[in-house]
């Protein structure tokens, strides 16, 4: 269960960011922002086999004392960042991958919508629903 999910565009501005904790939300924003550096680093390193699913999934970007940050980049350089609470029973890698896959699928659905202009903030209800399903179900 993620604590914060963010979708960042190619130009590194957020298309969608949502956190579960209403307070400290800024902290998550900051975390996501700093994780972008790590993402860029990983992207630049993987120069050859692009488009590989493994390449899309970047894995654990960096852990902190409270949470872990996972990254995923699409072929169009749209980045997904998931912040997971460390106190949670550590989610298996597969689960994180499946979360990213779902995110990616629903993101492509949003993209397919002709009414959505790429670069706009994502306001799709369906996307929101998917993200809510993945967020920590706190009270």
């Amino acid at each position: 269960m993620a604590v914060c999910i963010a979708v960042i565009a190619k130009e590194n501005y957020p298309l969608y960011i949502r956190s579960v904790a209403t307070q400290n939300e800024l902290k998550f924003h900051y975390t996501v922002h700093t994780s972008l550096d790590v993402v860029e680093e990983k992207i630049s390193s993987v120069g050859k086999a692009l488009g590989d699913q493994r390449e899309l999934y970047l894995g654990l970007l960096y852990p902190t004392e409270d949470y872990k940050v996972y990254g995923y980049v699409t072929n169009s350089k749209v980045k997904f960042v998931i912040v997971v609470d460390s106190s949670n029973t550590s989610l298996r890698d597969n689960e994180i991958r499946s979360m990213f896959r779902k995110l990616h699928n629903s993101f492509t659905d949003v993209m397919c919508n002709p009414f959505y202009n790429p670069g706009d903030p994502i306001q799709s209800k369906a996307f929101n629903g998917v993200v809510s399903g993945m967020m920590v179900q706190t009270g």
Binding site: T108, D109, V110, C112, N113, P114, F115, Y116, Q123, S124, K125, A126, G129
Partner: protein, 790 residues
């Protein structure tokens, strides 16, 4: 024609109608086409219509002048009232209701009903004035003249040339009616596109604007295209239609407020207003009232949507690309966010394009939203593409073939959907896009002969053609209906086949209704089940078999375990190359293992005694085969598991023979003998096929164990037999461990195989060398001979 006196209402109405029919703007003559359409809309029998036209004098004149038109209208009213058509009655009938014209699919009725629903709670047709009025065919005409009103939608032509008369009265009444937009005007309003043209009234726009914000939105687009589009023929931008359509929602309230009385000014005004927003309210009301399911699409709506679809994409089975759809729906002036949500809901297959069903769903959602309904979180069932297909079957006129085809599958689809949701999305596309391909679909269905037979049986049993995409039925000359059904059934079958791939059993159980489909499913499912079940992999030939077959050992050894004679033949392959230390050496490591295993048993060799003499002469020949034999022996154990115990036993015996000779060979010393014995044993074992090398090995091992015991015993044969017997108990053990042992033995066998192959090549090389040597020697000998002679 006698003079015709019309009441004011009638006068207005008729003039409106005349204007509607006056497509040429002559103000004198109503176009025959329009008039005839109008008369048809009156829902009178054609003879009556003919009579009317004759009576009114149009037949005489050859066209409908204004007076003739009015007379005709009056006569229509008379006829609708059930009175006999008489010229005299034109003026005598009092309080004659205005002629009613049915627009499209009972739109008028709908409108009437809707109109008065609130008022009277009845579906009674309102006084014609009201009912008819809203349709401003005249408006459309007015539009043609370029009124600011929205362009007429390319909706039903028949529309109702209703109540243009009302137009005249809009102003005074409009303020009264401030229309609140009633909800689902939707398609009606679209159809009534004409109404929009009513925008000609200056008041209307005001009045229209008053009621609803939505209207204002439409205004602009309406005004835009207004000039361009006359009535139907021009493609009034759908959005315009939409807008007007949406604006109609406002109309319904007004219409609802209309008293169910004879045309009153209020009614007229309201109707006028409705005209502008037109008839939508009526329809909307009707829709809203008529629906149990707010999301259901009525026939008129559907037809309207289809027409709109055609404006974008003439091919009803094609797709509307996302960009085109975006433009289309943007005209509805809904916020982009809502449009985006609607898109997400309606793009069922998430392909970025809208099929006809998806488009209808989206359109319906837009209409609903315009009318104030909130967008659902997920697509309502009635809007799901699969269901829409059903609705479509009756609606779509053009793709009749498709409809015909889709009819049967459609029956199935709904049923199918619950069972095979995964196919739901596929169905609409299948139905829409390719009837032909749908027909073709069944072809690829995997058909096994059993399946075909099953289908045949199924067909005969059920008497339906559905199932057989397969040949048998197709080959038969089905009736056309069957043929028509066939594609459907084939589609079903295809789907079934596909579905069967997913869950044939599920589809079975979950579809009770469509019997045919069920049958088809049942027909296919067992077949598919059969197909799915089927091919247990053919029993793999024993490795020994394959090997032996490659060596032709089965044949050679099958006949006789003794195979003394056979062995030589088998062994005869290699030229009589003297057993070389090399081969033996090479074979030793290969066969070493086996030899070792056989070492123990070799001692028994009772059988070996019997076989050894046979083998001894052949031993040289065995040289080359020793490896194979050894290999065979090694393989035998691997094949053991596959063989039943009896065969194993038999083979064991043979193998006993084999190992016996092997043992004897070993006892004799030369590895060749051993190998030959191994070969023999292998041959013997391979003959029966099951000489599972493993068991042999085990046997050998056990024999090793037993060997020391039996070594000194009397006949080696008995020892061997004992060994064999001893190994037999081991067989169950081996059987227990068969799998692993088999795999292990397979691996070993493969290794030995490669080694042996290498050996073989080396030996062949050696053989060649030897032959060359021999030739050289012979040559030397010959050379020497003369010398000797000399």
């Amino acid at each position: 024609m006698e003079s015709l006196t019309l009441s004011d209402v009638e006068q207005k109405y008729y003039s409106e109608l005349f204007v509607y029919c006056d497509t040429d703007n002559t103000k004198k003559v109503a176009s025959n086409g329009r008039v005839l359409d109008l008369f048809r809309a009156a829902q009178l029998p054609s003879e009556v219509v003919l009579q009317i036209t004759e009576l009114c004098g149009a037949t005489r004149l050859g066209h409908f002048g204004r007076s003739q038109f009015y007379i005709a209208l009056k006569l229509i009213a008379i006829a609708q009232a059930g009175l006999p058509l008489r010229v005299e009655s034109l003026n005598s009938v009092k309080d004659l209701p205005l002629p009613r014209f049915i627009v499209g699919k009972n739109e008028a009725e709908a409108r009437h009903a809707a109109l008065y629903q609130d008022a009277d709670s009845q579906g009674v047709y309102p006084p014609p004035g009201v009912a008819v009025i809203p349709r401003p065919p005249g408006r459309g005409v007015q539009n043609k003249k370029g009124p600011p009103s929205t362009a007429a939608h390319p909706v039903h032509e028949v529309i109702q040339p209703l109540a243009p008369t009302i137009e005249t009265q809009p102003e005074p009444t409009s303020p009264v009616v401030s229309p609140h937009q009633s909800p689902p005007t939707s398609p009606h309003s679209w159809r009534k596109h004409k109404r929009q043209p009513s925008g000609g009234n200056p008041d209307r726009p005001a009045a229209v604007a008053a009621p609803g914000v939505a209207w204002t939105q439409f205004r602009e687009p309406q005004t835009g295209p207004a000039g361009a589009d006359g009535m139907w023929p021009s493609r009034s931008p759908p959005p315009a239609g939409q807008e007007s359509w949406v604006s109609f929602t406002a109309d319904t309230p007004p219409s609802s407020t209309l008293p169910a009385g004879h045309p009153s000014s209020v009614q007229e005004s309201t109707t006028v207003r409705t005209v502008t927003s037109t008839a939508l309210p009526n329809e909307i009301q009707r829709q809203s009232s008529g629906y149990d399911d707010p999301w259901k699409i009525t026939d008129e709506q559907r037809q309207y949507y289809i027409n709109q679809f055609k404006t974008i994409q003439p091919d009803l089975t094609g797709f509307i690309p996302g960009s085109a759809a975006k433009e289309f729906f943007t005209k509805s002036k809904l916020p982009i966010l809502e449009l985006s949500h609607i898109w997400e809901l309606s793009d069922f297959d998430k392909d970025g394009a809208l099929t006809l069903d998806e488009f209808c769903a989206a359109f319906h959602l837009v209409v609903a939203r315009k009318n104030g309904y909130d967008l659902p979180e997920k697509l309502p069932e009635s809007l799901m593409p699969k269901l829409i297909d059903l609705d479509d079957s009756a609606e779509v006129p053009e793709p009749t073939a498709d409809v015909g085809y889709s009819a049967s599958p459609e029956e199935g689809t709904p049923n199918k959907s619950p069972s095979m949701p995964s196919l739901n999305q596929a169905w609409p596309e299948m139905n829409q896009s390719n009837e032909d391909t749908a027909i073709v679909h069944p072809v690829p269905i995997r058909m096994t002969p059993s399946k075909i037979h099953m289908q045949e049986m199924e067909l005969k049993r059920t008497g339906s053609d559905h199932n057989h995409p397969a040949s048998p039925l197709l080959a038969k000359p089905p009736e056309l209906s069957e043929e028509a059904k066939l594609p459907a059934s084939m589609k079903f079958a295809a789907a079934n086949a596909v579905g069967d791939g997913y869950s044939s059993s599920d589809s079975f159980t979950s579809d009770p209704e469509p019997i045919t489909r069920q049958r088809s499913q049942s027909g296919t499912s067992p077949e598919t089940l059969k197909v799915v079940a089927p091919p247990p992999p053919p029993p793999r030939p024993h490795p020994s078999h394959s090997r032996s077959s490659s060596l032709d050992m089965n044949r050679t050894f099958a006949p006789s375990t003794a195979a003394g004679a056979v062995q030589p033949s088998a062994i005869a392959f290699p030229p009589a190359v003297p057993p070389r230390p090399l081969p033996t050496q090479t074979s030793v490591p290969v066969a070493g293992l086996r030899v070792e295993t056989e070492a123990g048993p070799a001692r028994g060799a009772a059988l070996a005694t019997t076989t050894s003499p046979q083998q001894i002469p052949q031993q040289p020949n065995f040289a080359d085969f020793s490896q194979f034999q050894a290999f065979a022996a090694s393989e035998q154990p691997s094949s053991l598991p596959e063989v039943d115990k009896h065969s194993e036993e038999a083979q064991v015996e043979k193998m006993a023979e084999g190992p016996a000779p092997l043992r004897t060979v070993k006892s004799d010393g030369p590895a060749d003998d051993r190998s030959s014995a191994a070969v023999n044993s292998a041959k013997g074992s391979s003959g029966p096929l099951a000489p599972p090398p493993k068991p042999v090995r085990r046997r050998l091992k056990s024999e090793d164990e037993l060997r020391p015991e039996d070594e000194q015993h009397g006949p080696q044969k008995s020892n061997i037999m004992a060994a064999v017997l001893a190994t037999q108990p081991s067989i169950p053990r081996s059987a227990g461990k068969d799998k692993k042992s088999i795999q292990a033995s397979i691996r070993r066998n493969k290794e030995t195989n490669t080694v042996l192959a290498r050996l073989n090549s080396e030996l062949q090389q050696q053989l060649k060398d030897l032959l060359e040597e021999r030739i050289s020697l012979e040559v030397q000998l010959e050379q020497l001979r003369p010398f000797s002679h000399l």
